[in-house]
C-alpha cells in the first residue's frame, strides 16, 4: 500500500471512544467532588476566638432559620417581623455586646432547614432561632445539638423537641398544655354539650399531634367524639367531611388544621348550617385566617400563649413597635414568640458578656456558656414572665383563651381575650394579677 488510507480513527470504534470518554469524565467528576468535599471541611469555626466586644467586628451573629418560602411561610412572615422588631428594640438598649442577625430561608421542608442550619453553623453563628415547623426541628435540631450550637425554637410545640438535646430549647409552650384550655372554656359556656365532632389534618405532623391532645382532654371530660374527620392540608373543599359530620348533629366542633385550610373549613361549616361552638388549635392562631373565613370566623375559641391585652411594659413596647409598622393591627402569637426568642438570646448574651464570659474564649466555649446562661435566666417577655426547665422546656406562667371578633366589614378582626388561665401546678406560679379569676386546669 503506497497510500495509507486508514482513517484517523482506525482502531478506535466510537463505542470505545465513548467509553474512554466516560471513564475520563468520571475521573474528573470524582476529583471535583473530592476537592469540594475537602473545601467543605475546612475551618471549623468553633475553635476561633471571639473578637473583643468593643472591636469593629465585635458583633456576634445570631442565625435565624425561618420559613420564607413554601406553605409554612404564612407563619414565617410573622416570625420575621417579630424577630426584626426585637432586634430594633435591642439596639435601642445600647448593648455591651452588639449582635448581628443573619436570616436564612428554611423553606417548609426538612432538607432546606437542614441546609440552612448547616450554612449558619459553618459561618460561625453563636446561636440559632428556628426552625418554623416542628417536623423541620426533628430533622435539623440534632445537627445543632451535635455541633454544640444553642437553638431557641420560637414556634415548635410538638412533644419531644427540647428533649432532642441539651442545646435545644423553646419559648413556645407545649400544645398539651395550652390546647385543653379552650375546651374547658367551651364547655363552661355550654355545659350541656354531649356530641363533639373533631376535624384534623392527617398529613400534618403538628395537627396530628394536637388532635390527640384535644381528644384526650375531651375524653377526660367524658365526651369522646361522635366522629373524627380526617382531612388533608391541601384540601380546601370540605363538603364531604362536613356533610358526614353534620349528619351526627354535633354541638361542638374541634379543629386541628393549618391556617388556610382551617379558615375554609370554618366558613364551609357555617355555610352548611352548623350553629354550635367551634374550638380551634394553634394552626389557626394567626390573623391570616380573617380574610379567608371573614365574618364566619366570629366567635371561634382558641387557647393562646400570648394576648395583646397583657398590660406589662415589655408588651406595651412590643405593641407600640408593632403598630408603628402595622397600624391598626395586633400582633399574633407567632410574632410575639419570635420576639421573645430573640429577646431571650439577647439578654442572655448581655448577661454573659457582663460577667466576662465572652472575653477571650473560643466560639465553641462561648456557645456552651451561652446555653448555661440561657437556661438559668428569667425573662420578662411579651408572653409574660418565662424561664426554662433544665431540659430547655419553657415555663410560662399564664395562658389565655381568646375569641375571634370580626369587624362589621368582615375583613378585619382581632383575638379578644375572654379568659386568663394559670399554668399547671407543676410549673412556676403566674406573676402579676389577672383581670379575671384564673381558671385552674382540669386534672389530666
Amino acid at each position: 500500500m503506497l497510500l495509507d488510507t486508514t482513517p484517523a480513527t482506525s482502531g478506535f470504534s466510537l463505542l470505545q471512544r465513548r467509553q474512554r470518554g466516560a471513564l475520563r469524565l468520571s475521573g474528573l467528576l470524582a476529583a471535583a467532588i473530592g476537592t469540594v468535599a475537602i473545601a467543605g471541611q475546612q475551618g471549623d469555626p468553633s475553635v476561633k476566638r471571639l473578637p473583643a466586644a468593643g472591636a469593629a467586628n465585635g458583633a456576634l451573629t445570631i442565625g435565624a432559620v425561618i420559613a420564607l418560602t413554601g406553605n409554612a411561610n404564612l407563619y414565617g412572615q410573622d416570625q420575621r417581623l417579630g424577630i426584626d422588631l426585637a432586634r430594633r428594640w435591642s439596639l435601642s438598649r445600647a448593648p455591651q455586646r452588639p449582635l448581628r442577625l443573619q436570616l436564612e430561608d428554611g423553606g417548609s421542608d426538612e432538607a432546606t432547614a437542614i441546609a440552612a442550619f448547616n450554612l449558619l453553623i459553618k459561618q460561625g453563628a453563636l446561636a440559632l432561632i428556628g426552625p418554623t415547623l416542628s417536623q423541620q426541628a426533628f430533622a435539623a435540631d440534632p445537627i445543632a445539638q451535635r455541633r454544640g450550637v444553642p437553638v431557641v425554637a420560637p414556634s415548635n410545640t410538638a412533644k419531644g423537641i427540647p428533649q432532642i438535646g441539651h442545646f435545644i430549647s423553646r419559648v413556645s409552650a407545649q400544645s398539651s398544655v395550652i390546647a385543653p384550655l379552650s375546651i374547658t372554656e367551651a364547655l363552661r359556656r355550654d355545659p350541656k354539650v354531649r356530641r363533639v365532632a373533631v376535624f384534623y389534618a392527617q398529613d400534618d405532623a403538628y395537627s396530628t399531634a394536637e388532635t390527640l391532645i384535644f381528644q384526650k382532654a375531651l375524653a377526660a371530660r367524658g365526651l369522646p367524639p361522635v366522629t373524627i374527620q380526617r382531612v388533608q392540608l391541601a384540601d380546601n373543599d370540605f363538603q364531604i367531611p362536613i356533610t358526614a359530620a353534620l349528619q351526627l348533629q354535633p354541638q361542638l366542633v374541634v379543629i386541628s388544621v393549618q391556617a388556610v385550610a382551617g379558615g375554609n373549613l370554618i366558613r364551609q361549616l357555617r355555610e352548611l348550617g352548623y350553629r354550635g361552638q367551634i374550638v380551634v388549635g394553634n394552626g389557626l392562631n394567626t390573623p391570616n385566617i380573617y380574610p379567608i373565613c371573614q365574618r364566619w370566623c366570629d366567635g371561634i375559641l382558641i387557647a393562646q400563649a400570648y394576648s395583646p391585652e397583657l398590660n406589662t411594659p415589655i408588651n406595651r413596647t412590643f405593641l407600640r413597635l408593632f403598630r408603628a409598622s402595622n397600624p391598626g393591627e395586633s400582633p399574633s402569637q407567632i410574632a410575639a414568640q419570635a420576639w421573645s426568642a430573640y429577646q431571650v438570646l439577647f439578654e442572655a448574651v448581655q448577661r454573659l458578656q457582663a460577667r466576662g464570659g465572652l472575653e477571650d474564649v473560643g466560639l465553641g466555649q462561648a456557645r456552651e456558656a451561652l446555653m448555661q446562661e440561657l437556661l438559668s435566666g428569667r425573662y420578662d417577655t411579651p408572653l409574660g414572665p418565662i424561664h426554662f426547665q433544665r431540659d430547655g422546656e419553657v415555663v410560662q406562667g399564664r395562658f389565655y383563651v381568646a375569641q375571634v371578633r370580626m369587624d362589621p366589614g368582615g375583613r378585619t378582626g382581632r383575638f379578644e381575650l375572654v379568659r386568663n388561665a394559670s399554668a399547671p401546678a407543676s410549673a412556676a406560679p403566674a406573676a402579676g394579677a389577672a383581670t379575671s379569676p384564673p381558671v385552674p386546669l382540669t386534672a389530666r
Binding site: R18, G21, I33, E104, N118, I143
Partner: protein, 307 residues
C-alpha cells in the same frame, strides 16, 4: 464557590445524582418510568423502621448506629424495592410511552398515600430520631460515592454487554428488537428492577442522613425534578443524570444570595435548559471527543505505512 457547598449539601447532591441514574436506567431501554421516588420512599421507610424499632441492629442510646447495620439496611432497602419492582413491573411495562409515564406517576402517589396512612409508618409525623452511623455529614460522603461508583460501573459495563445492547435496541425501535428475537419484556423488566434497587438503597442512605423520614420524601415533585436531571444532564449516557443531579440539586442552594427570586431563577434554568442544550449537557459527541486517543493518529499512520 466550592466553599459554599458544605459537606451536607454535597451529600444531597450525590443523592440527587443517584436518583438521576435510577431514572436513566429504564430510559436507556426506552421506558420513561418516573417510578423511582416510590422505591426511594420504600427504601427510606424500611431503613427508618428497622433502625428505630429493631434493637438487634444495635442502635445506641446516644443515637449512634453500627456501620455494618447501616450497610445491611442499604442492601435490604435495595432488595425490597427490587422485589416490589418485580411484582409491579410486569403489569406496568405493558404500557407504552406517555401512558407508562403517567402510570408510574400514579404509582408514586399511591405509595406516598399508603406510607402516610399505614399505622406503623408514623403517619404525618413520620419517623424521627433515626440513629446515625456517622458523627458528621461528611461521613455519608464515602457510602454515597461508593454507591454512585457502583452504579456507574454497572452502567458503564452495560454498554458493552448483550443486555446493554438489547436495551439500546429496544430504545431505538422496540418492534424491530422484538422481531429480532430479543426478549423485550425481560430486558425492560431488568432495567426497571435495577433502577428500583438503586433508588431503594439511596432511600435508605437518605433516611439516615436526614434524621427523619416521612411520606413527603419521594413524591410527584421528586419525579419531575429527577426527570429534569436526566433531560438537562443528557439522556444518552449515565454521566448525564449524574451531572444533572449534582448541578440541579446544588442550584437552589447556590442561588440563596439572590433571595426571594431564587426559585424563579431555578424555573428559568429548567425552562431554558432544553432549548439551549437539546441533547443535554453530556452528549455522546462530547464523550467521543473526551475519549479521543492522546497520541495523534498521524503518528501511528506514519509507523504503519507499508513499503
Amino acid at each position: 464557590m466550592a466553599a459554599m457547598i458544605d459537606n451536607g449539601l454535597l451529600v444531597q447532591m450525590l443523592i440527587g445524582a443517584l436518583l438521576g441514574v435510577s431514572v436513566y436506567l429504564p430510559l436507556a431501554a426506552g421506558q420513561l418510568s418516573l417510578a423511582s421516588p416510590a422505591f426511594y420512599a420504600v427504601g427510606g421507610t424500611l431503613a427508618a423502621l428497622l433502625s428505630t424499632s429493631w434493637p438487634v441492629l444495635g442502635a445506641g442510646a446516644d443515637g449512634t448506629f453500627p456501620l455494618a447495620s447501616f450497610l445491611l439496611e442499604l442492601l435490604l432497602g435495595g432488595l425490597l424495592a427490587g422485589a416490589l419492582a418485580l411484582l409491579v413491573g410486569r403489569l406496568v411495562l405493558r404500557l407504552q410511552g406517555i401512558y407508562l409515564a403517567i402510570a408510574t406517576i400514579a404509582l408514586v402517589e399511591i405509595v406516598r398515600v399508603a406510607i402516610l396512612n399505614l399505622p406503623f409508618t408514623g403517619g404525618a409525623i413520620g419517623i424521627f430520631g433515626i440513629p446515625q452511623p456517622f458523627p458528621t455529614a461528611a461521613g455519608y460522603l464515602l457510602p454515597a460515592l461508593a454507591l454512585l461508583a457502583l452504579a456507574g460501573w454497572v452502567c458503564q459495563r452495560l454498554e458493552g454487554m448483550p443486555l446493554g445492547r438489547a436495551m439500546a435496541a429496544i430504545r431505538n425501535d422496540e418492534l424491530a428488537a422484538r422481531c429480532m428475537g430479543i426478549d423485550t419484556t425481560g430486558v425492560k423488566l431488568t432495567a426497571f428492577v435495577l433502577s428500583a434497587v438503586l433508588a431503594g438503597s439511596t432511600g435508605a442512605l437518605a433516611a439516615h442522613f436526614l434524621n427523619t423520614w416521612n411520606a413527603r420524601q419521594g413524591s410527584f415533585d421528586t419525579s419531575v425534578t429527577m426527570l429534569a436531571f436526566v433531560i438537562l444532564g443528557g439522556s444518552r449516557s449515565w454521566l448525564g443524570p449524574v451531572v444533572g443531579g449534582l448541578l440541579l440539586t446544588a442550584l437552589p442552594e447556590l442561588l440563596r444570595p439572590v433571595g426571594d427570586a431564587r426559585l424563579v431563577l431555578f424555573g428559568l434554568v429548567i425552562l431554558l435548559g432544553p432549548v439551549l442544550f437539546p441533547q443535554g449537557l453530556i452528549t455522546p459527541s462530547l464523550l467521543e471527543r473526551l475519549g479521543a486517543p492522546l497520541r495523534p493518529a498521524s503518528w501511528r499512520r506514519r509507523g504503519g505505512v507499508a513499503p
